[in-house]
């Protein structure tokens, strides 16, 4: 692993089998993640954006190694290295038992604040739970830490006796954040932590995450389906389309100077106040998103790409360096054609 990295994903592929027939034979597969390599620098916020269903959550769940639990037949290949005090570890090589020892340093914040908290437990019990598995703190010490965490996320310690249904979405997401921090993790996978929230509350939660990132020295993978959410908090952004990363670069560059035709289309759909932007430059995404089950060969975007060529069907284009630290997976575009 490179010195500046805390997490390295190498050629991650996740395939969900589709079974059918009398004996549950595999009849097809969903290539949810189709060869993703991604590095996360220590202390950075790495944005991961893409439309619904492109495999963002699957990457997050593969990284924290929980896919096998809900889908025992899932086929996962590749490597997920993390740096710990005890050295570098490939999480995908660990079985569930060995994985358990490392769960404390890599935690996830889930997409849906309503279903991510067990409604039968009090907030205190929810936040305390990870400490039961990863620390040997006494009951009092745990409760003290629960109060402390609640304050850190902007709630009151007295609220630990309440149940999740007494909180709003934003407050619930704060509870989820407190839970994810209770074991002092180094890496946080934030899976669309704000997309279920009102716009007015989104900013509060994002700001909270940023404050906590500094205080707890966290490296965050921030998943979103909307570039504008991650643009100003991410040092780097990866854009995904149907299981592949199609563009990777510094947040500002991706937002203001997207290179891949898909990112361009994604951005032109966002109303950006930009005087330079002309109406005729807007690319509108046409056609339906193909499902990962019948993913087009070669460049998966070719069915909707305005500049697709016959050769695009041949092979998945690799990420190429297009500008400083800025990669895109399309051989037919350059950084110079600025089209925002």
């Amino acid at each position: 692993m490179k010195a500046e990295n805390i997490l390295e994903i190498k050629d991650l592929k996740v395939k969900f089998p589709v079974t059918g027939g009398l004996l549950l034979r595999k009849v097809a597969e969903v290539k949810a993640v189709d060869g993703v390599s991604l590095e996360m620098r220590k202390g950075e916020t790495l944005g991961l954006v893409g439309e619904s269903g492109c495999g963002k959550s699957t990457i997050g769940k593969a990284v924290i190694n929980i896919l096998k639990f809900s889908s025992p037949d899932v086929d996962i290949t590749g490597e997920v290295w993390i740096k710990t005090d005890k050295g570098e570890i490939d999480l995908l090589k660990l079985n569930r038992h060995d994985m358990r020892q490392h769960r404390g340093i890599i935690q996830m914040i889930f997409q849906d604040p309503y279903s991510s908290l067990n409604a039968r437990l009090t907030v205190g019990q929810i936040i305390e739970e990870p400490m039961l598995y990863h620390t040997d703190l006494s009951k009092n010490a745990r409760l003290e830490r629960v109060s402390w965490l609640l304050e850190k996320v902007g709630l009151q310690p007295e609220q630990s006796k309440r149940y999740p249904h007494e909180f709003s979405g934003g407050q619930r997401q704060r509870i989820g954040i407190a839970r994810s921090l209770s074991t002092n993790p180094k890496i946080i996978i934030a899976d669309e932590p704000v997309s279920a929230l009102d716009v007015s509350i989104q900013a509060q939660v994002i700001n909270l995450l940023q404050e906590l990132q500094n205080e707890f020295d966290l490296s965050i993978m921030f998943i979103a389906h909307d570039l504008s959410v991650v643009e100003h908090i991410s040092s780097r952004i990866a854009v995904m389309y149907l299981g592949n990363i199609v563009e990777l670069g510094p947040g500002k560059d991706i937002y203001h100077n997207p290179i891949h035709p898909y990112s361009r289309a994604l951005l032109s759909a966002v109303p950006v106040p930009n005087p330079k932007r002309k109406k005729k430059d807007r690319t509108i995404l046409t056609g339906d998103v193909p499902t990962p089950m019948n993913k087009p060969s070669g460049c998966a975007f070719r069915t909707r790409c305005p500049i697709a060529k016959p050769e695009c069907a041949d092979a998945i284009p690799p990420l190429e360096l297009k500008a400083e630290n800025h990669f895109a997976a399309c051989p037919y575009v350059t950084a110079d054609e600025i089209r925002v």
Binding site: F69, S116, N118, H134, S168
Partner: protein, 356 residues
């Protein structure tokens, strides 16, 4: 919902979902009162000999106290000129006439369920209802009201026990299938399908024609067939709950399967079990009544509603033999159904689906 109104709300007393549902249940009067009535009656039915029965509660004989409901006394021990056990109703009468200061305290309704009253009554059984015998007697001269009361205890206990064990099996099997999914689920389901094609009534008839069924055997048979429905429910619940993020969160924290099942998934999967239970109890009461009616139920002389109805049907002119057990069955099933309805409403997933 804005954060502000939520903070205001949080000054209210906090309540778990169960407490909220219980509060809601209490507001549903019909179900709540039925619940109280059934619970009180069922509890009382375990100390029924104190209210309804042939044995005296207390006998004061020659200055000594005796408690015949706990102990057998022969007729001679009270100076009664009879064979076998003392007849306390006659004893009461006798003591009164003797005026020696001896006395007998009888239960409010001094007739037992299995007691043959022919020697004390005129005419041939069945006797019609009277002030003494509220629901008359059956064709063997036994008091119908006492039989109904004891039959209530037996029927309800029976069906609660069957429901409990059937649920235990159904929940365990359904939870296993739903939690582990995949092939376990696939083959488990096929086995359940095969099992559920066994004709339950025939099995009982066959077994009863070989051996006389007793309480435990009937519980066992009904339980072996009663778990199937609930196992489907629980399987579905486990399947759904397992895919929810709070379970993923538990896995990502490093919780073990045991913790995940018992701390997370199971408590969130019990709603259908609880809201379905009253209806299962109703169904099991009905099963016992039907089996007794058909003559494949509990062995005589167990007081049984079904057996009374069967008598009623063969003596159709003795209307009380059919009307009173039907009435008792109707009222019991109706109240339990009211309870079930109220539970279902209190547990309405539509209100709480967002919270679960």
């Amino acid at each position: 919902m804005s954060e502000k109104t939520d903070n205001e709300k949080s000054t209210k007393v906090s309540a778990s979902i169960f407490k909220k549902r219980w509060r809601k249940f209490k507001t549903l009067k019909r179900g709540y009162y039925s619940f109280i009535a059934i619970v009180v009656l069922f509890t009382l039915s375990f100390i029924l000999p104190l209210f309804i029965g042939r044995d005296a509660l207390i006998v004061n004989y020659n200055g000594n106290y005796h408690f015949p409901i706990f102990k057998y006394y022969s007729a001679e021990s009270f100076g009664q000129n009879l064979q076998g056990e003392a007849n306390y109703r006659m004893l009461k009468q006798q003591f009164k006439e003797e005026e020696k200061g001896n006395w007998v305290l009888m239960p409010v309704y001094p007739f037992g369920p299995n007691e043959n009253l022919l020697s004390e009554m005129d005419g041939n059984p069945p006797h019609p209802p009277s002030a003494q015998h509220w629901a008359g007697t059956d064709d063997r001269g036994r008091d119908v009201f006492a039989r109904l009361a004891y039959g209530f205890n037996i029927g309800l206990s029976f069906s609660i026990i069957v429901t409990f064990f059937a649920y235990f099996i159904g929940v365990s099997i359904g939870a296993t299938l739903g939690f582990f999914g995949g092939r376990v689920d696939f083959f488990g389901l096929r086995l359940i399908e095969v099992w559920s094609t066994l004709p339950f009534l025939y099995v009982i008839i066959i077994i009863s024609s070989i051996i006389q069924p007793n309480f435990i055997l009937l519980v066992f048979i009904l339980m072996m067939f009663g778990w199937i429905g609930i196992s489907y429910y629980i399987r579905g619940e486990f399947y759904r709950e397992k895919a929810r993020d709070y379970v993923s969160a538990a896995v990502s924290m490093g919780a073990k399967n045991k913790t995940i099942i018992f701390k997370h998934v199971l408590p969130n999967s019990l709603t259908p079990v609880i809201s379905y239970a009253p209806f299962a109890i109703v169904a099991n009461i009905f099963s016992l009544v039907s089996l007794d009616f058909l003559g494949f139920g509990l062995p005589p002389p167990t007081p049984s509603w079904g057996q009374l109805m069967q008598q009623g049907l063969s003596n159709i002119e003795n209307w009380w033999l059919i009307a009173t057990p039907l009435m008792a069955l109707f009222l019991t099933l109706l109240s339990i159904t009211f309870i079930g309805e109220a539970i279902r409403e209190a547990f309405d997933p539509k209100v709480y689906s967002r919270l679960r």
